[in-house]
């Protein structure tokens, strides 16, 4: 064995030898070496989450459904020439026969008018017992329900995040006292509070005129107040728990060592790391608020008539359920679609953004 080999040239293998085939261990060329240097494209947490969300068909479908619903409730009241509160009029005359019509049905007066060459916008969902266009009422009801849901979850978000982050970050006695207050609020029966508050507010607040608050009625105001007073506790607990765990991370200590103030640490380190959980929980809060609103309207503690909401429409349709089934189906379908879409979207957001479910 005096023969020496060049380092780049592999010795030939004896076919009977048990030795490993050295030709499989050739030196990497410069080009191959370069490949190992290239790192994958840098992605931020948000981009990565959005990519995952886009791959989730259920979440994307619910986004489409929600966009369609929002488009419907903004466009319909503009396009359809009926108002949610007025009885259908033909040529300036009230059409008293246009009550309880089936979808796309015309009343005698309307038929007459069409025959004379006039144009009447079809009643896509028929009319209600007072002769109001049901399609517009459902659109308005959806508007109110969505508004209540989004508004309530924004209130919950703001109060809950502020309260929870203060309690979680400062800990100790502050946390103890703040969380006992939360426990007390948690133990109050929310429905009882809504009913009591709406009774009290009815006496205290007297809305006159045409403002949006007056049209919504005191029941709705008390609903918002109750959401602001009671429903944030769940969010506050969630945020506090998140912050307690994130606070333990060494990067928070590192920021303290750097001399960063508490506000900066909360803003730059703690909130960005729990924001996904907060957003997911806020998204899931919307359907629950809509559900509560519908339920309250159903037991006639919701919006003030003639303003419709999905719950009050369903409640009104209950009396004629055997003859005019479609009047229950339309608002119930809307409630179902909205809550399902928000729930699926919230689940999709969680799958995409929750750090505990990632990797």
């Amino acid at each position: 064995m005096d023969k020496t080999y060049d380092i780049d040239q592999m010795p030939k293998k004896n076919p009977l030898s048990m030795q490993i085939d050295l030709s499989k261990f050739e030196k990497a060329t410069d080009e191959e070496k370069k490949q190992a240097d290239v790192m994958s494209e840098s992605t931020s947490f948000f981009k990565d989450g959005m990519r995952k969300l886009r791959k989730n068909p259920l979440a994307m479908f619910s986004i489409v459904v929600l966009v369609l619903i929002i488009l419907m409730i903004t466009i319909v009241p503009v396009v359809v020439p009926y108002s949610y509160s007025d009885i259908i009029t033909i040529n300036g005359k009230r059409d008293k026969s246009a009550t309880n019509m089936a979808p796309f049905q015309y009343s005698k007066l309307e038929q007459q008018y069409i025959d004379e060459g006039g144009k009447v916008f079809p009643h896509i969902m028929g009319t209600d017992e007072l002769g109001r266009d049901y399609f517009v009422r459902v659109a308005y009801g959806t508007r109110i329900s969505l508004l209540v849901g989004v508004f309530a979850s924004v209130i919950v978000l703001i109060i809950g995040v502020l309260y929870g982050s203060i309690a979680g970050y400062f800990g100790g006695k502050v946390d103890l006292i703040m969380m006992r207050i939360v426990d007390v609020i948690y133990s109050l029966p929310d429905l009882l509070m809504i009913i009591l508050l709406s009774v009290v507010l009815n006496e205290v607040l007297k809305f006159d005129g045409q403002g949006i608050l007056a049209r919504l009625g005191t029941n709705m105001i008390s609903l918002f107040i109750v959401f602001g007073l009671l429903y944030w506790v769940g969010m506050a607990r969630l945020v506090r728990g998140q912050i307690l765990t994130i606070k333990q991370n060494e990067y928070v200590l590192a920021a303290q060592v750097s001399g960063a103030k508490s506000s900066r640490i909360i803003r730059r380190h703690i909130l960005p790391n729990c924001i996904s959980v907060i957003i997911i929980s806020a998204a899931l809060q919307i359907p629950s608020a809509i559900f509560t609103e519908s339920f309250l309207s159903f037991i006639s503690l919701g919006v003030k008539a003639p303003m419709p909401s999905l719950g009050s429409l369903a409640s009104a349709a209950r009396s004629g359920i055997t003859t005019y089934t479609y009047k229950l189906i339309f608002p119930a379908l809307m409630i179902g679609l909205i809550t399902l879409a928000f729930n699926l979207l919230g689940d999709g957001l969680r799958d995409a953004f929750d750090p505990k479910l990632r990797r």
Partner: protein, 326 residues
């Protein structure tokens, strides 16, 4: 606190009788103090490395954190450049004291780019004149710790453990500190990366003249990097000496047993060396034994050990030992 204590101007950091007790709930009403550090005193000169060793749970990290005031010490005095470190003065001293953390995975914020992580101390202390200046400073820091400039816009999760630790070191160096606490800074890395990072620590010390408090449980690593070593057991220092002196001539029985447990590279010498195996477990820090904390496991324990806590006394050449045995 001893308000009359006069710090020695020769030292960069001086710790006198540091006590850090944590209240622990025992039973329904009572709380017992957990004495994580109990009367610890040491000093570090500018540009010097003091190694702090001891088994897990002995209070090394607590001492490090109390030193840079992540914890408020129960008692004791800490001086930095002759100035007392307290709630008032710490704000001005944050720039000069930094920390490198143990876990390279949790010490970097996953939502921030490397540039922002390293730049955070600069942002807090407003140590730049313009955006371009900030970026230049960050890039030179990254170069100093051996990171590519093109990594600046990446997120922490895209890096390996060793690279992450380099990012953490660059962040600690950003404010040009005079003193860095390295809290088990290499313990989470594998051996070959440990060597790289330790050599980097040494290079940085030569270049910048920073002093380190190097906390670790690996005696070989500590011996390699430290000028002096302090050995800790159950919240108390039991022995401090120059690095080589401690290795060659350990006096305290605990140090002797620690050193005998260090794996030796040569199997023949490893075979001939005798391991001193300690009996029993570390006592609970909530129920400290009377007198010397080590007496329950000590081979040489006498009655005197149970009665009185031995103080650190000089055995010549700055070799301080807290033991009754001469």
């Amino acid at each position: 606190m001893d308000m009359n204590y006069k710090p020695n101007p020769e030292y960069l950091v001086e710790v006198n009788n540091l006590k850090m007790y944590f209240p622990v709930k025992t039973g329904f009403f009572g709380t017992t103090p957990l004495k994580a550090a109990d009367g610890v005193s040491f000093a570090i000169r500018p540009g010097e490395t003091l190694g702090l060793v001891g088994e897990s749970g002995c209070g090394k990290t607590t001492v490090g954190r109390a030193l840079i005031r992540l914890y408020k010490p129960t008692d004791g005095d800490i001086f930095f450049e002759g100035k007392r470190v307290d709630d008032k003065s710490i704000g001005g001293l944050r720039k000069d004291m930094q920390m490198v953390f143990q876990d390279p995975y949790s010490s970097l914020n996953p939502r921030m780019t490397v540039e922002d992580i390293i730049g955070e101390p600069l942002d807090v202390h407003k140590m730049y004149t313009s955006r371009a200046d900030r970026r230049d400073q960050i890039l030179s820091l990254m170069e100093m710790v051996g990171l590519n400039a093109e990594h600046a816009t990446r997120y922490a999760h895209e890096f390996s453990g060793g690279q992450r630790q380099r990012i953490g070191i660059a962040r600690a160096l950003a404010t040009k500190p005079k003193f860095i606490v390295c809290d088990e800074a290499v313990s989470a890395l594998d051996v070959s990366i440990q060597a790289q990072v330790i050599n980097m620590f040494e290079d940085l010390q030569r270049q910048l003249g920073v002093a380190y408090l190097f906390i670790a449980h690996d005696l070989l690593v500590v011996h390699h990097i430290s000028h002096r070593i302090a050995v800790m057991y159950l919240g108390k220092l039991v022995e401090t000496a120059d690095s080589d002196e401690l290795n060659a001539n350990p006096v305290h029985p605990y140090t002797q047993s620690l050193l005998s447990a260090v794996p030796l590279p040569d199997p023949r010498t490893a075979k001939s060396s005798k391991r001193i195996i300690l009996e029993g477990d570390v006592p609970s820090p909530l129920k400290m034994p009377s007198g010397c904390p080590f007496r329950t496991r000590c081979r040489f324990a006498t009655e005197q050990c149970a009665k009185e806590m031995p103080q650190l006394t000089d055995r010549g050449n700055g070799h301080m030992v807290a033991c009754w045995n001469k």
